[in-house]
Structures are given as structure tokens and as C-alpha cells.
């Protein structure tokens, strides 16, 4: 079982900088990856000036764009799949 945990910041600052677009991307990926993708919510990651911010398996990513997030998650997923084989 491969597990990726993505943590989206729901703080107002990240929301203003496009946090909802990241939610949309994650919702779409969730349809494809199912339980392999766990979604968390952060209230603030204390890097408001650089938002929208995201954590991926605990690692902090600043100023995320929807395309970037999609690529990062898929890359992580491929990596985990390879390991399992």
C-alpha cells in the first residue's frame, strides 16, 4: 500500500493566493489515487507571505501552483509504486 499525505493550508492568506485551486487538483487526484492519497487540512503553516503552502509527507512546499502540486504528487506516487515492486 502506498500512502501519500498531502496537507493543504486553509488559512485566509493561502486562500487569497489560490489555495482553492490546489483543493480542486487534490480532489481530482483523489478520484484517481483513492486511499493512496490522504488529505489533511492545516490552519496555518506560518509562511503566509509565500503562499499557497502545502505539506507533502511532512515536507513543506511554499508558493505551490496547481500544476506543480499535481506533478509532485504523481512523482511521489510513482516512486512509492516502484519501491513496492
Amino acid at each position: 500500500m502506498t500512502k501519500i499525505t498531502v496537507g493543504l493550508c486553509a488559512g485566509t492568506s493561502c486562500h487569497l493566493m489560490g489555495g482553492m485551486d490546489l483543493v480542486t487538483v487534490v480532489e481530482e487526484l483523489k478520484k484517481k489515487l483513492g486511499d493512496d492519497l490522504q488529505v489533511q487540512k492545516h490552519t496555518c503553516l506560518n509562511q503566509c507571505r509565500k503562499g499557497p503552502n502545502v505539506t507533502l509527507n511532512g515536507r513543506l512546499f511554499l508558493g505551490m501552483t496547481p500544476e506543480q502540486l499535481k506533478n509532485e504528487i504523481l512523482a511521489l506516487h510513482d516512486l512509492e509504486e516502484e519501491k513496492n515492486q
Binding site: G11, T12, S13, L16, C48, R49
Partner: protein, 508 residues
Amino acid sequence: MTLQVNEVTKIRRKVLTETARLHWNGSLVKQVDQLPERLTAEHEHRYRCCEFKEKAIYAERIKLAMGLSLTPEHAKKRLSTLARHSLTHSHEKNRSQVEVIDIACDGCPIDKYFITNACRNCLGHNCQQACPRGAISIVGNQAYIDQSRCVECGLCRKACKYGAILEVHRPCEAACPVNAITADQDRKAYIDKEKCTDCGNCMVSCPFGAISDHSQLLKVIDWLKGEEKTIAMVAPAVIGQMGQKEKLGPLFQALKKLGFDRAEEVSFGADLVALGESEEFVQRVPEKDPYLLSSCCPAFVKLVKAHRPDQSEHISTMVSPMAALAKVMKEEMPDSKVVFIGPCIAKKREAMESKIVDGVLTFEELAALFVAADINLATLEAMPEASSRASKDGQGFAAAGGVRDAMAKGLQRYGQVDFRGGSAQGLDECLAQLKLLEKSEAPFNFLEGMACSGGCLGGPGALVDTRQTKRFLELRGSQLACQASGDNPEALEKVKEFGHRLHKQSKK
């Protein structure tokens, strides 16, 4: 159109936030001169030719965020001087809400058809034969369009077998349904304020972020920090905008934290309008008037007045939901400052003209203000939401078709009424339907006109895409205790109490 936060939007929001932050902390005049430099340094990407141009554009954006027009007179002054001026003077009333930032405007090509290198200089020369004006000649192994002869018919493009002829649009011009924005001599965009409806389409569509509106953040911050009593009136379209799904509790709490003495839903004003406008309909249609036009969207009202003046007598005399609620508020809390918060830019003009609403912020500007004041809605404890004064119908004004549906329901009280409601979203569609009405070919006798696609939910000041907010709007609507405007006892009472005061005085 899908709403996605691109770089242009981020820059605008950053400027709003940082300008508001300076004023919130009381250091605007002292530090605003350094702000363009700071913003340029913080932003890693460079878009313009050099750092200096980038800073100059930031300075222009800051002026708009401070509510100033970009006049030649303002161009020469320092930001700190302008900030001091902006804080102590009221702004000129007669102006367009949207302005072009000249130095940010890329002066996109005016020529509509353009022959690319894909031209093979074939034997057929179909383009040349297709051109009705003989504007195409062969120069240096390639077809060439003499732009002085070109009438932009597009036949050459259709004729070319290689697809070598490109059709170029200026995004701002293409976005404006009333041709209010054109290129001036130096190819920069120019807005004709008589024609402009302040819908905000051009602002959203410019890929260079060269068009923006004036913000009223500074004066609202002054009221919040000062002695004034302040009331926040949030538009029905607020549901789902602040990232709190269908809940309004955290938003109301945040508004209180910001310093507003009261926060109210304009949906209640919409209930009053639904009731008043249905009464007006019964009185006017069909005996005195063949049809009625809705009056709640200020961009639609301006569209009719400026572009279809003969039909303006058919506009309902009801004030907008914003103005209706403001009237109630000013009576409940005299001497208070009333601030409308919505997705709309045209409301800024309406408020200025109505003289009853003191300030207008967009959802975008409000969120920027929250960030500036370090208020994070996600960390606010969920408090039980006070029961809403509004009905589902009133709240429904936020989405296209909502006014029509509320009218249809409101008219049930009058027994048999010949009501055929139509709705148009987007100014293009509004114009088309108005033409049908004029020719008596329309299948309806009431037209709800909304300048934005999707209704107010799709406004230029919105933060979240219509597809999501529509879901939340419906969810919250189903949770409301009162479903129809006609079942809202408080609304019925207020309509009776305010009577003709909810109608605009005819200027005769």
C-alpha cells in the same frame, strides 16, 4: 469562465494586502515609498524589461489600491505625498471604476490579421484571391497584408490551406461587450467612461494585469480604526467565498474582530426587493408597461441607460438589495458607516451615486484586509451562527435566475398574474434579450439582467469559482428557516414600513 488564481491576480492581491497592512499598522505614509522596491524584491519572477519598470508598475498599482486615479498630476508625486492626500481628501465622484495602467499595458497588436512564417508562398495564392479589397500582395517570398486596406473580414484566413494567417485579439477589447475599450494612438488601451458599465470583464481578461479598479480599503480602515460606528453588509454571493464552505459563522466573527460593529446579509435587502418589485410588476405590467427590467445589477442598469436609452423607462424603480438594506441600516443605526462587501466593481459606482452606501469592498479586498490584520478565518473557533434574517429566495439573488425565480414566487400572493420571467447573464446576452423585448419578440415580460456570467457569483471580485460556490449557496439555502421572501415576516413588515422609500425617485 473558470476562475483560477494566476500570477496577475496574485500580484494584485499582494499589492492590496501590503498596502492595507501598512495602513492597518499606521505606517502607510512613512513606508509606502519603499513598498514598490520591497514587492519587486519579494517577487522572484521578472516579467518586465527591467527592475525599474517593474517598480514603476507596482507604484501605479499601489496608487489604485489607495483609491487614486492615475492622472498625469498624480504621476509626478511621491507615493507618500499621495497617501497623505488620499487619507484626507475624498475622491472625485465622476470617474470610471476601472482604469488602465498605461505603463503595464503592452499595447497589444491592433492589426487583426497577420501572416506568419508558415506562409509557403504557394502558387494558388488563395489568400490574395479571397481578399475583397486587394489588400494582400507578395513581398519577399511571403504574402503581406496592407493594413490600411484590410477590412478585417477574415476571408484570407479561411482561404489559406496552411492556416498561415493568424487572427489576433486584444483580450480587453474582445472582453468588452459594449466596445468601451479601444486602442488609442500609441496602441495603449483607453476606456470610454460614458460607455463603460464597470462590469470588470476587461480587468479579469488582461493577461498583463494592466487594468484594475480603485480600492476603498484605506477609508474603510480609517472608519474601522476610528470612532465611527461601522456596519458590514455582505452580498448574497459571499457563501463559499472565504474558504469556509457554506458557513458564514467564521466570516461574521472575523468581521467583528476587524472592528465592524455589525454584520448583516444583503440577502435580507434582496427579500425586500423581491417583495417590492413583484408589487411594482402587478401595478405596471401589462397595463402601463409591456415589460419590466430588473434593477439590482448596476452594470446592467448602466448598460440599458447608456446603450439602450429608449428602454430605460422599463427599468424597475426599486432600489438594489444593497441600497434597500442600507436604508434599513441607516434607520436602525443612524450616523453609521455602511460598507457593502461583494463580488462587484460596478457597485462602487452605484454606491457613490446612491449616497446611502458609504463604502464598497470586493471579497478580494476583504480577504486582503483580513490578511493585513492577521485574521485567519481557519483558526477562528466555530461559533453557532445566528439565525439569518433572510430567506432562501433572497439569498438566491446571488445566482443567475435567482431574481426571476424570487419574483415568480413573490407574485403568487397576487393570484393570477401573467408573469413570464426571463433571465440573461453576461452583457452580450443582456443586449440580445433587450433587442428582443424592443421588437416585442421576447417570450417574457420580465427580464433579469446580470452583467456577469453565472450572476453575482461570477463577479470580478469573487475568490472562488462559480461551480463550487453555487453548490454551497444551494446547501445553505436549504438550511435556512425561511424559504420564500413572502414568508419572511420581517421583510413583509419592512416593505410596508418603507414603502415608496425603497423606490428611486424619478428625475423629472
